[in-house]
Each structure stands twice: as C-alpha cells, then as structure tokens.
Symmetry: C3
Subunit: 135 residues, 3 copies
C-alpha cells in the first residue's frame, strides 16, 4: 500500500519518476484507485509537466531560477549554502504531494504528462518519496 | 469511483467546475469520503478560490499574466505558440491535483470557495479532468 | 474519518499544525493509510516546510510578501482591505490540500518537515481545516 522510492538526483533539475511510480502501481495489482506521491524534503518538490519537448523543462528551470535567485539580500537563512533558501522557496511554489487516479491499472496521466521530482539543490542527494496506492 | 469530465474552455480564464464535480459526488451516493480531481494537461490547472466577487478571479488572472508574460526572451520552447510556455509555467505555479473531503454527501468547501479549471491557453480546448471519489 | 480543526491565527505567518494533525491520526488508530488536509478558506493556505531554523519560515514570508505586495495598482478587488487580494494570490501560489501517507501510525513526514497553516491576512481569524484519514 505504501512504498518508499529513493531517488538519487545529483544536481538541480527535473528528474522523471513516472516509470518508478508506475512500477509501484503495477506491483499492487490495482485496476482502479488513487496513487498519491509525497516528497519527504523541503528543498526538492514534485510536479506533473510535459514529457515531450525537453526545452519545456529547461525553460521551467530557468524561469524559476530567475524568479528565485541565489544571493538575494532578503535571505537571512544562509548557513546551509547559497542554494538552500532558494530551494525552500522553489519547493513552496510547487508541490509536496500529488494525487493521480489509477485507471485500468495505470496512472491516469494525459498523453503529454510525466511525473517529476524537482531537485532544487546543487549537491548530490538521495531523495525519499512515499508512494501510497489506494484500492 | 472515477469519472472523466470534459470541459470546453474556449479562452484563458477560470472556469468554475464546482457543480460538475459535486454532481459526480452525488452520483456516487457517498456520505463521507474524499474527492480528488486531477487535470490531464500541463497548460491548464486546478485551483480552489473565492466564488463571490468575480473581481478576485480577474485580479488573479491579471497578476499571473503579468508575472508570466508572453514573449519573454527566456523561453526557448516557442514552437506551439506564444501562449504555450507561459501556460506551462502558470500550471507549475498552481495545482495538478486537489483533494477535498466529502462531508454529508457534499464537497467540504468553505462558504466562499469554488473549484476552478484554469485555462492558460487562448485557443479552443476541451480539457479532461479525472474525478476520483473514495468511500 | 473526517475531523475539523479550528485554528486561531491572529496575524500573518506560518502556524505549525503538525501536532494537531498527528493527534487526529492517532485518534483514528490507523497503522498505514493516507491523511489529507484541506483548508476551507481562500486567504489562508497549507504548506509543508522546514521545521528546524525559524529563519526559513521568516524568509518564506518576506519573499512572498515582496512578490505580492499590498497596494499594487493591478488590484481591483479592494473592498475587503489592502491585505485581502494579496492573500488570495498567496493562497493561489501555495496549497489548498496536501496528502501525507501514514506510516506506522504516524504522518510520514521527513526529519525536517512540519505542516503549516499559512495565514495571509492581518486580522484575527479562526481558520477551519478538514482532516481526512483513510485506512
């Protein structure tokens, strides 16, 4: 019913996890239900976005990076590195949890949708995601 | 347990879907449970917002349009039109899925809350929303 | 299965509700499941964020306040006070609902995660949150 995924990210960007989440759903042998993913971090987040043109993901990354720059004088939380407070803000603007209905044993995604873990920090991290499957 | 709604939008803006989602809940004859909506697109999104003064929705639309303008030099994904990359960013900043508890057979919305599909593109689209009702 | 929490806020800021939500989960005596929280307002919202350094929460508050200032000429919805339209926009950018898997009878939060109600208005309010626990 609940599985934990450990996703090594190794740098900022959108890491596709569609197949990994779909594998959990397959393993549960459920035809119709609900799949909820939850990220156990506050400097990485979740998003459903276009899985076709990689330029979309690069533009999302660039736009958010410009919106939430490093080195902003506003930040007082600086002890964990220049990319830490921007990472919290980027997480705030995207999602901690997403719920996707399961249809015919598969995630009910649209044709052009993929599920992504968005790593907002520069270092090497292993991110934990809980996947809950409801029958 | 899962129903698909097809919502014709026909232009940018917030399209109220409260009644359509409520109809699905009624049809399932559930007293207490959880209703999850999921949009199968990445250039339209979901939001719960004020259903009283229409000026609130217009202001939300204007604010987001100013924040994510067309023709930004940052965009490299341009092949699908000037309004396409802004639509992906606007979707990123709002929600792909929302879960609302069902209380006494109805969506447990606050007095001033409505559920909206937010169309971020200008053309005529039919948007698909999955509604999952859990008992 | 569903409980309502009434949270007095009394001013803008992030109010931690982790313990209150955890109490609902404990009361349901569920080992593994899903906890969904939903806020019945459109000028307050929900967020999972770092529960360690309070400076993170202050920086989030300051950043969002700068991004969505009071007195913006764009706003036409002004009848409910200078802080009202910014509150709707801030709610739009954060979450109305969050779903957290329940593991071993507890919210499956990461080590540094807390659950917060974000009050975006200045006055004294009592905010209603629905907590749905699924077995």
């Amino acid at each position: 019913m609940i599985r934990k995924l450990s996703i090594p990210t190794g740098g900022q960007g959108l890491h596709e996890i569609t197949a990994a989440v779909q594998d959990v759903v397959h393993g549960e042998d459920v035809t119709e239900g609900l799949c909820t993913i939850f990220v156990q971090h506050t400097s990485a987040s979740l998003i459903v976005q276009e899985n076709a043109d990689p330029a979309v993901r690069r533009d999302l990354e660039c736009w958010l990076g410009r919106m939430v720059p490093e080195g902003d004088d506003l930040y007082t939380h600086k002890s964990e590195g220049d990319d830490d407070m921007p990472a919290h803000i980027k997480s705030m603007l995207t999602a901690s949890s997403i719920s996707i209905p399961i249809v015919n044993g598969k995630l009910g995604l649209g044709t052009w949708q993929g599920v992504y873990l968005w790593e907002h920090r520069k270092g090497r991290y292993s991110r934990q995601i809980l996947v809950h499957v409801q029958y």
